[in-house]
């Protein structure tokens, strides 16, 4: 029996430590992992818990991230709770198995500490890895700070393992800005946290020898489409459970999570849609702009990147007073508009209000995102709103040195 870990009401934890404590409290049966900056401390901390009797489960240090996720899938098929952690190149290496895990409906929890993808090699935070996972069939939750990294990791087990969901779930936090920044975190006591997560309920358990089961069958053109359709339906239905789990978590802790977080949107004339640790920067910037210059800025932050909250985003943006929206993508778009822009613009096409929407690529490879930069972008949105049309190119880069970089002109309102 694992030892109880004594915790204060308020601890000072960085995001990595917060995530590792959540894994420990969920009493994960198998953690199969491989270290990579900046998520390494999650598995190191877990190793320390194991070495000191705080976990009963197996801790398997494998030879690669591909091996880590492979071990997780094998372990999950054997009927127990499974989790791991990774970042960046490791995430990229395990991508093959991410798709296999979701197609096989293995409720694995993956804590992802977001980091740029090479080349050029870079250890700092951006959202390239998070975006790489967006079609992988996983639920993706996004934590903006250490407290949320802890809370959402606990919630992730409950969501993933719910019998109506049974889908693997990622909890993202930003490399260094969240993972290595010590902040106040209010943890639950071990028994309270475990009670919230609950016992694991095996499905199609390979260790139940009275019910032999084949996992990972092949499907060709006569069956593949039906299986992928069923999987998509499960993902599209998962918000019901996500909302329930968030509600239960609020009742337990008072901390409220929504699939789309929004700030100051009621009277907003312009809005910024943004992810990760930049959300807090954006909120501060918006508050200051409202106070100092009277610009009515609102912030929208998808907490749930997958399934993408199309309906909630649309509800937030379908406001008569809202004129201009900017979508902030912290990932090199690779020859397209940013992914967040595309998602949000897609949701906007069926709104009544049809606000203008533009795209910024920012913060790549850990480039700092300041309040001043956020405000400059917000003011630009105000200029669009005043002019009645987009006054800049639709996609622009912010914070990069060299001549101004932007693409595409609007055809509306000029």
């Amino acid at each position: 029996m694992a030892k109880k870990f004594e915790l204060n009401e308020v601890e000072v934890w960085d995001g990595n430590y917060a995530a590792s404590q959540a894994l420990r409290q969920a009493q994960v049966d198998v953690v199969a992992a491989y270290p990579i900056t900046p998520s390494t401390p999650i598995v190191e901390n877990y190793g320390a818990y194991q070495a000191n009797g705080f976990v009963d489960g197996e801790f398997v240090m494998v030879e690669s991230e591909h091996g880590a996720m492979s071990g997780c899938v094998g372990a999950a098929a054997a009927g127990g709770r499974v989790a791991t952690a990774t970042s960046s190149q490791g995430f990229a290496l395990m991508t093959e198995v991410l798709y296999q895990a979701s197609g096989m409906r293995m409720p694995i929890v993956l804590t992802v500490v977001n980091r740029a993808l090479a080349s050029p090699l870079n250890v700092r935070g951006d959202h390239s890895d998070m975006y790489l996972g967006r079609d992988s069939g996983w639920i993706q939750l996004d934590a903006f700070n250490s407290q949320e990294a802890y809370d959402l990791t606990l919630c992730a087990f409950k969501i993933a393992e719910h019998l109506d969901v049974r889908l693997p779930t990622m909890v993202h936090q930003d490399g260094f800005t969240t993972s290595h920044k010590a902040q106040n975190v209010r943890p639950l006591q071990d028994e309270v946290a475990y009670k919230f997560v609950g016992d694991y309920k095996p499905v199609d358990d390979m260790l139940d020898f009275t019910r032999p089961v084949t996992h990972g069958a092949q499907t060709e053109e006569d069956w593949h489409f039906e299986h992928k359709a069923k999987q998509h339906k499960a993902l599209m239905d998962s918000p019901k459970v996500i909302d329930e789990v968030f509600k239960e978590f609020k009742e337990l802790t008072g901390r409220e999570y929504k699939r789309v977080e929004s700030y100051m949107m009621d009277d907003a004339e312009v809005a910024m849609v943004i992810l990760g640790s930049s959300v807090e920067t954006a909120v501060l910037a918006a508050k200051e702009l409202r106070e100092k210059e009277g610009i009515k800025v609102g912030i929208i932050a998808p907490r749930n990147f997958r399934p993408f909250p199309f309906d909630l985003i649309r509800d937030e943006l379908d406001r008569e007073n809202l004129k201009a929206v900017v979508c902030m993508d912290k990932s090199a778009p690779g020859g397209a508009m940013g992914a967040l822009f595309n998602e949000v613009a897609g949701a906007l096409t069926s709104t009544k209000a049809r606000p203008m929407v533009t795209n910024y690529i920012y913060g790549l490879g850990g480039r700092d995102f300041s309040i001043e930069e956020a405000q400059r972008i917000m003011k630009e949105q105000k200029a669009h709103a005043d002019a009645g049309h987009i006054t800049t190119q639709i996609q622009q880069f912010s914070g990069v040195r060299g001549p101004k970089l932007g693409f595409y002109e609007t055809r509306r309102g000029k």
Binding site: G103, V213, T214, H227, K230
Partner: protein, 150 residues
């Protein structure tokens, strides 16, 4: 041989690919295939005829159409050495209580390995074209071959 010991209601009725094509709402979650309809205890002590095979088990399907030639088995000559049993790649030699009792024609693909490894003289398994009736094949079984003098 008749289907005999392997006869079940659903045995060998479906060619691969002929199964009912259900919609996305009816396929199993996670593409899992349950081998049996009911729980099984101590499977390695259950003979095939005692098992509750599910429709997902290939045991219930047939690949007989792959075959252009078939082995015919002659009980009168067989010494139950079980060479054919151990080397059959298609689990198609039916043995019970150390006796070879026949060929599973739903699963046999007609490779001919069983005939090659049969040590009796004449062989107790021989290949015939699919069109030949087994009784007919047995009635014309060859005589014992004399060793050729070198």
């Amino acid at each position: 041989m008749s289907k005999g010991v392997l006869a079940t209601d659903k045995r060998g009725v479906r060619e691969l690919g002929a199964e009912k094509k259900v919609g996305w709402d009816e396929v199993p979650q996670g593409v899992v295939l349950n081998s049996f309809d009911d729980n099984v205890d101590n499977l390695s002590h259950l003979r095939p005829e005692e098992r509750p095979y599910s429709d997902f088990n290939s045991f219930t399907a047939t690949v007989a159409s792959w075959r252009v030639i078939k082995p015919v088995y002659n009980r009168d000559i067989c010494i139950d050495c079980q060479n054919c049993w151990v080397w059959c790649p298609d689990t198609s030699i039916i043995s019970r209580d150390k006796q070879m009792i026949g060929i599973d024609y739903d699963h046999c693909k007609g490779c001919g390995v069983c005939v090659e490894v049969c040590p009796t003289n004449p062989k107790s398994l021989l290949m015939f074209t699919e069109a030949v009736d087994n009784e007919e094949a047995l009635s014309g079984w060859p005589e014992k071959k004399k060793k050729e003098k070198k």
